[in-house]
Structure formats: structure tokens, C-alpha cells
Symmetry: C2
Subunit: 375 residues, 2 copies
């Protein structure tokens, strides 16, 4: 009954992970769209592209060669946003009442940016892969995470040689694993790949999540996201897919039209804590979700995806709770996206369909096969 009301009134919803609000305007999808049209990805790419710098055996812009890798491969981004070697820098410490030290604060960041190829085939996205071919990607993410922990940490393991992963030069604090898929989300090479950036210092978004999750756990004695997944399993209004170990749902506070979260059914802090069965479950969840996404508008569905888990600095991080976010921009079709612009940037994010409506659509779609129109 609650849903029926919110399907028809404009309202704000609260995001407890970020302690922020979003504006939901369910009646707004009726407006005609005369603005920008996205270009759907070509789905008739070759299995091997001699000009692709990620295909096995090819040479990258900097002259380095890609080995003839057989499942996944990691290398340091040739144009990294952070570097391992640079002079240290900190702006003068903020002194009370001195505008310059209060308003011009900066601190140096060192780190490493990795590219992770998902598969040797140039034309196979996550949506094209069966769970068994997604499993090696999850293992690679796990190895990458483990290799960045302090050597004394129980989950530390040296990087397996086939990955091409040189040990980091120093102890970093945080590792952000993510994937930008599709030109609409800034991806410049269709070869299936993701990235991982590790840095000194913990970035803002996970920091905020840890802060709010920690407060919740202190107050209520339970992990926020475990409470949340259990609540959603009772309500059953925003679930997209579930198996024995994972739940995929449109969060109550979703911003992007078909935004989802992928959550484990028990408290897990980081990838190395997953059992073999949970890794298989996650591979299935990703396979099903990405296929449903492609089927929604019969296109290669663009998105940014990221994994949030405990930092790698070796501290306990009891408040951390492993989860994945998918932020896909398309709203109405393969060519019409939601723009998060003027009002959204200046005032508050705004969405045009409710999370319940989005979940209902995604739930109804097939997750075992893709039936995109070939373009």
C-alpha cells in the first residue's frame, strides 16, 4: 500500500549509507524527449581486433606487449591517475583563523592504477559470459585485493605469477575496483575490462559509507547492510534476483534509473572472506544481472560498477560490508539516458521512476540469455 502512494507523489528518500537525500518524481517519465541520443555499442565486434591494445599478443601505446593471456590479466595503466613515485606534499597545517590554511588545503596522493582484462575475447562483455567464466574475474579481484594487504595480514597472499602483477612499492590504504562499460560511461575500449586504483588515503565515498555504517552498528548492534538485505527479503518489492548466497536489489534510495546493489546474505568484509560457494553465487548474480540489463532495452547496457569493501591498510574495519554498486544511465531506451545535471548538481539528485518500478521491470526479464538487437 505504501508503494501505491509513492508511485504517484513526488517525494524525497533518505540514503542511510551516504546520509543524503534524493528527489523522486514518478510522474515525470511522460515528458517528451528531444535531447541527446546515445550511440548504442556495436555488438558485432570481432573476437580479436589487431588494433585493440587489450587483445592478447598486441602491443600497447607505450610499447609494452600484452601476453597471450587465457582468462584475465592485470597491468599498470599506461596513463595512471596516481603514481608510485613523486615528491611528498602537504599544504601548511590549517591554523585557526588563517583563511589561506583553512581554504587552500591539499595533500599528495601516491598509488597505482591497474587495468584488468576480463577475457581474451574482444567481443565478450560480462553479459555474454556464463558464471563459470566470471569466476576467474572474481578470483583475480580477490588476488589483487589480497596482494595489497600488509604481508602480516591473515588474508595476505603474494600475487599469482600468471596475473602479471608486480608487488606494490609501498603499503596503500584503499583499493577501488570498478568497471566503466559503454561509451556513455566514459569507456574508451570495448574489450571487456575493469580497473582498480589503489591509493594512500581513503577516498570520500567509501569514507562516508564507513562512517555511517559504523554509527549504525554502534547504535543498533547489527551491520546496516545486513539489516537492509533482510528487510528487503521480507518486503520483496525491490528484489531483482536472489540465490543461496547473494541478493540483487534496487536500493530504496537509488539515484540512477536502474541502479542496483549486489549484497551477500551474511556479514562479509572483503573478497578474501568469501567461501568457494559464495564466489560461485556472486558469479551467478553478476551474470544474471548483466544479462537482465542487456535485455531491458535490447542493447549492450552501459554502466559504472564498483566494489566496496574493507580498506587494505591492515586495520580491522569491522564496520565494512562487502557490496557492489551498479550505476547505469539509460532511462527509456537504448538511446535515451537520464542526465544528472542542473538541479541534480546544484540542489539534489532527482529520478523519474521509483526503485520499485525499476525492480519490477528488471525482475521480469530473463537472466539466462541475452536477446539484444544486433546493431
Amino acid at each position: 500500500a505504501e508503494n501505491r502512494i509513492l508511485d504517484d507523489v513526488s517525494h524525497r528518500r533518505f540514503n542511510p549509507l551516504l546520509n543524503s537525500w534524493i528527489l523522486v518524481s514518478p510522474h515525470r517519465t511522460k515528458r517528451p524527449w528531444q535531447g541527446a541520443q546515445e550511440t548504442p555499442s556495436k555488438t558485432t565486434l570481432p573476437e580479436y581486433d589487431p588494433k585493440c591494445y587489450l587483445c592478447p599478443g598486441n602491443t600497447r601505446a607505450t610499447g609494452d606487449a600484452m601476453p597471450k593471456y587465457e582468462s584475465t590479466y592485470i597491468f599498470v595503466n599506461d596513463y595512471s591517475a596516481v603514481k608510485e613515485d613523486q615528491p611528498d606534499y602537504t599544504s601548511k597545517s590549517s591554523e585557526d583563523n588563517d583563511p589561506s590554511s583553512l581554504l587552500l588545503q591539499a595533500t599528495g596522493v601516491k598509488g597505482r592504477c591497474y587495468v584488468i582484462t576480463f577475457n581474451p575475447s574482444h567481443n565478450l562483455t560480462l553479459a555474454d559470459l556464463p558464471p563459470v567464466s566470471i569466476l576467474p574475474i572474481i578470483s583475480t579481484w580477490t588476488s589483487l585485493y589480497s596482494a595489497h594487504l600488509p604481508a602480516s595480514h591473515p588474508h595476505y597472499t603474494p600475487p599469482p605469477p600468471h596475473l602479471g602483477l608486480a608487488p606494490p612499492k609501498q603499503q596503500y590504504s584503499y583499493l577501488q575496483i570498478f568497471e566503466n562499460k559503454g561509451a556513455a560511461m566514459g569507456c574508451s575500449n570495448p574489450h571487456p575490462h575493469g580497473q582498480a586504483w589503489c591509493t594512500t588515503g581513503i577516498p570520500d565515498e567509501p569514507s562516508t559509507e564507513f562512517h555511517n555504517m559504523s554509527e549504525y552498528k554502534q547504535k543498533h548492534g547489527r551491520p546496516m547492510l545486513l539489516d537492509y538485505v533482510n528487510l528487503e527479503l521480507t518486503k520483496r518489492e525491490r528484489i531483482v534476483f536472489e540465490n543461496a548466497t547473494w541478493v540483487v536489489l534496487c536500493p530504496y534510495w537509488a539515484v540512477w534509473p536502474y541502479e542496483t546493489m549486489v549484497l551477500p546474505r551474511r556479514e562479509v568484509h572483503c573478497l578474501p572472506e568469501l567461501t568457494a560457494g559464495e564466489k560461485e553465487g556472486l558469479a551467478e548474480a553478476i551474470a544474471v544481472l548483466t544479462k537482465k540489463y542487456d535485455n531491458l532495452f535490447e542493447t549492450q547496457f552501459p554502466y559504472s560498477m564498483g566494489i566496496h569493501q574493507a580498506p587494505v591498510d591492515g586495520s580491522l574495519w569491522e564496520e565494512s560490508f562487502l557490496h557492489l554498486h551498479f550505476y547505469p544511465p539509460l532511462l527509456r531506451s537504448a538511446t535515451v539516458r537520464k542526465f544528472l545535471v542542473g538541479y541534480e548538481l546544484m540542489a539534489e539528485p532527482q529520478r523519474d521512476i521509483t526503485a520499485e518500478q525499476a525492480a519490477e521491470k528488471l525482475r521480469a526479464l530473463r537472466g539466462d540469455e541475452v536477446y539484444r538487437k544486433y546493431l
Copy 2:
């Protein structure tokens, strides 16, 4: 000297308005770009387009007619994100320890969304207008703001009849004036126009700004943004343009490649407080900035622009400080933008040039004339 270091090392900068951080990677512009290409706006549009729903005398989608307006005109958006009439809604109040009331919080939002045409000519953007033709737009924004104050407020004035502005049905809390320019920023009609959304409740972004500005003022006895503008006038590294009443600068903590702020030289809380001279100064600042923007890549430069000022609920809002934000997406040329995607969404905003480098480029460009390539 400080600059010279930050031109070459990756670092995080602090945004005191939002209490957040951004990652700056000055060496990263060297990477080749093979991703999406933006479509530059057509700059050979007719002065009058019979199919445009914003041109004077034309009929809108809903059948309403646009009058033969001569400078600016306001009407309620035919597809508003918020409405004046809807049932009230609040989710059950959050009870300690009840996950449902803690994690599924929502509240109804009423309001009105306006469209404001800037000029009767279909083909004149702000960059094409001399300051004297921008002045009526500033007056219209001011009238709109004043008309939403409580009738008892010293700055309240009833809406002037020529604007086509029916008095709001209730007292709203906040009015967000903004402009989305160009298809890249979700604009669906090139006829020069902006929007203004008023709502019950104060949205997140201005709320956060007020919170941080209020804390600063309490601690240091001066408005944060007045301290900031004075500091930048001393440093002279990030100034783009200045006149007797306004300063245009690339904020130290800019996220978008050529992001700017437009700031008054004295403490001003809202548009109606501006003197006639300050309105003229603002018209000049907007004229110069938008011309410089167009000249940067010789194109109609897309952006989202917004005005932050005191809420309209009639409270004092001593911490408010009138300012404009411009968020333009282009990074390297008329067709290559910065994507704020994976890492930016999951971890922290990241930029590829420093605010000082951006300011230097903008400062050097002409602001009195546009010399775009006609496309």
C-alpha cells in the same frame, strides 16, 4: 612556488563548502582519447523556429501559447518534477532499532518547476548577448525569488504582470535557479532558457553549504566565501575575470575541468540585496565568462549553471552568501569531455588539470567577442 609542485604531483584538495575532497592528477591529460565524441551544438540556428515551443507566439506540447514576449518570460514546466497539489506523505517516524523505519525513510515534496526564456531570439545564447541584454534575465531571477518570499518579508514583491508568473499556492522553502546548456548537459531545446524549481524542504547540496558556511562564520567571525574571494584576490592564481563588484574564479577545489564560481566582493545573501550597479556588474561577469567559455574550444560551450542564495522560507539565513557555480564538462576540445564515472562515482571525483591551469587558459581568452567556428 606552491603551484609549481602541484602542477606535477597527484594530490587531493579539500572543498570547504561541501566538506569533501577531490583527486587532482595533473599529468593525466597526456593519455590518448578513443572514447565518446560529443556533438557540438549547431550555431547556425534561425532567429525564429516555428517548431520551437519556447519561441514567442508558438504553441507548447500541452496546447498553451507562448505570448509575444520581448525580453524574458516565465511559465510552469509542462512536465514538472514537483507539483503543487498532491496528498501529504511521510514514512513512519524512525524508531530506535526498527530497520524498516530507519532504512526506508521518505517524505512528500511539493513545489513548482518554472521555465524561464532568456530572450525571444531562438539562436542567442548568453554568450551572444551583451551585458545590457543579460540584465533583464537577472531582474527576472530577482523577481522570481522575491515573489516566493513570505508577503511579510522586506524583500517580498508581487510578480510583475508581464512575466506571466502566477503567485505560488503555498509558502515554499527553497528556490533553485539553474541553466542546463547544450545537449551534453541534458538540454533538449537550444532556445536560450533556464529553469527554477521551488520546493518544500531545502535540498541536500545547499543544505550542506549552509551548514559548512555557518560553522565557519561561527568559528572565524567572517563569511567563508568573503574570506575566500579576498584570499584569491591576493593570490591571483585562479582569477578568470574581475570588475568593481564581482570576481570570477576557478575554485581551488574545482571538480569539472573548467569549473568556475562567480562571487560578489561583499557579503550578499540573495539577489534582491544587489544594488543596481552590482546587477550590472553581474551581467558583465556572466557575459564575459560565457564568451570566454565559447572561445576556449571555439564552440557553444555546454555547462550546468546554478545560483546559490538564501532559502525563501522567510528565516534569516545569515550564513548564506550569494554565488553562482558553472559546471562545464568539456576537457580537451569541442568533442572530448571529462567523464565523471567509475572511480569518481565509487570513490572520489578526479580531475586531469589543476584549477590554476584552467584559470590561466580562461584568463587569457577574449571575453568581449565570440570567435567560434560555425558548424
